[in-house]
Subunit: 264 residues, 2 copies
Amino acid sequence: MPTYKLILAYDGGKYAGWQRQPHATAVQNVLEAALVQIAGDEVRTTGSSRTDAGVHAFGQLVSLTLDKDMPGDALRRALNAVLPNDVFVRSAEIAPVDFDAIRATTGKRYRYVLRDGQERGIFDRRYAWHVRTPLDAAAMHAAGQALVGEHDFASFQSVGSERQSTVRTIYELSVRRGDAGLLAMPVAVSEPDAARGDLVAIEVAGNGFLYNMVRAIVGTLVEVGRGRRSVDWPREVLAARDRATAGQTAPPHGLFLLHVDATD
Amino acid sequence: MPTYKLILAYDGGKYAGWQRQPHATAVQNVLEAALVQIAGDEVRTTGSSRTDAGVHAFGQLVSLTLDKDMPGDALRRALNAVLPNDVFVRSAEIAPVDFDAIRATTGKRYRYVLRDGQERGIFDRRYAWHVRTPLDAAAMHAAGQALVGEHDFASFQSVGSERQSTVRTIYELSVRRGDAGLLAMPVAVSEPDAARGDLVAIEVAGNGFLYNMVRAIVGTLVEVGRGRRSVDWPREVLAARDRATAGQTAPPHGLFLLHVDATD
């Protein structure tokens, strides 16, 4: 009964999110259906991040236990042979028997991709939120630094969520302009000096995120980037601890779960 | 009755090519349907390049004449307001009354994007041909130089096409490795020094191309890149003037019409 640790990439465009659904197709349904083909029996999986409908992943962390004893790489290849072309197992390895993707998670890193300007992005339209107003990426970067550190992020949590504490720590938040290389993983070749380009990426790493927190941060920084709000505004939003003060929740299709930090 | 010159971008993924079809949806059908909404009457368009089903464009050149007199930019905005999100008019301007996109064409530039290696490209799967064998881009570049210049390209023409002459001139052919920045236009920020990355781009410019010529060149260079054929082989294929000697026709979804050179 080995336990496995998987790193999963997926295009969330046509899925009802990560989490298994009874009457819709979620990524977890697809992965578990592939596992049945390989293991024979029903296999239950645990995903670190409950990504919403339409959200993508380069590095979702998944744990599962199989009745069948097979090397990690054989499981990876077997899964990739049966998974649809929008879900891909990047790696699979045998983990300690008590490994659990949720308990093991110590932090997460997300990237949100925007396109600005009048030109419609024909080839990135599924992966970038198109904002017609030109965005000031440097102002967004400066404004976002107020969110770095340990704070009460109540202003950036969607209503309806029930978490015991709304305090989280953001380790790093960066905003930079670039080209379609921003849609590549691992860190794109084009990133270091990319000051031109039609795309803007917001990357944020932290010890945990409230429901819709990244998308609320993006919606807030976009208000600054458009020039509708000052660079100091996100600091005020944070201090207010009231969701009504922040910007809109950015749409899901620009969001990528890049990486999950985990302990073995 | 002004004549207009349009530069069109489209994702060819769900279209039966550029050319109008009676029982399928081609890009030309979609553009002409949008023009009816704007002009009221039926409008006939001419496209420079008859791109095949599944082939994409950043810069298709189109000519058309309207009964309605409107500034070029107003036409561009009106079209973009009604076109589906996978077809986009990059520019529209009033041209000389006898301007015709086919007659005006003096050359074309194409890019073909490949992904190599075991990793499936979740986010570029619609825009890159995935070849599992690692490709030697430098060998492909060296091999491709034999095709530059004026030659009889009969070996690179799909059977069934009827052209008077199979002599064409290739001005430039380059093969380089890069990241998803290769899917951006205009020339991507990441291009100059991108030696790493999971994608390989073959770019070819010439005064004209035979039916499936770019895709046959790509299929041939990929044989070199895989190490199945020597760097000298494309030169031999060219000299044979026989389609049976060349590599396979590469699939359409990696091909982009980048630019059409035209005279006014």
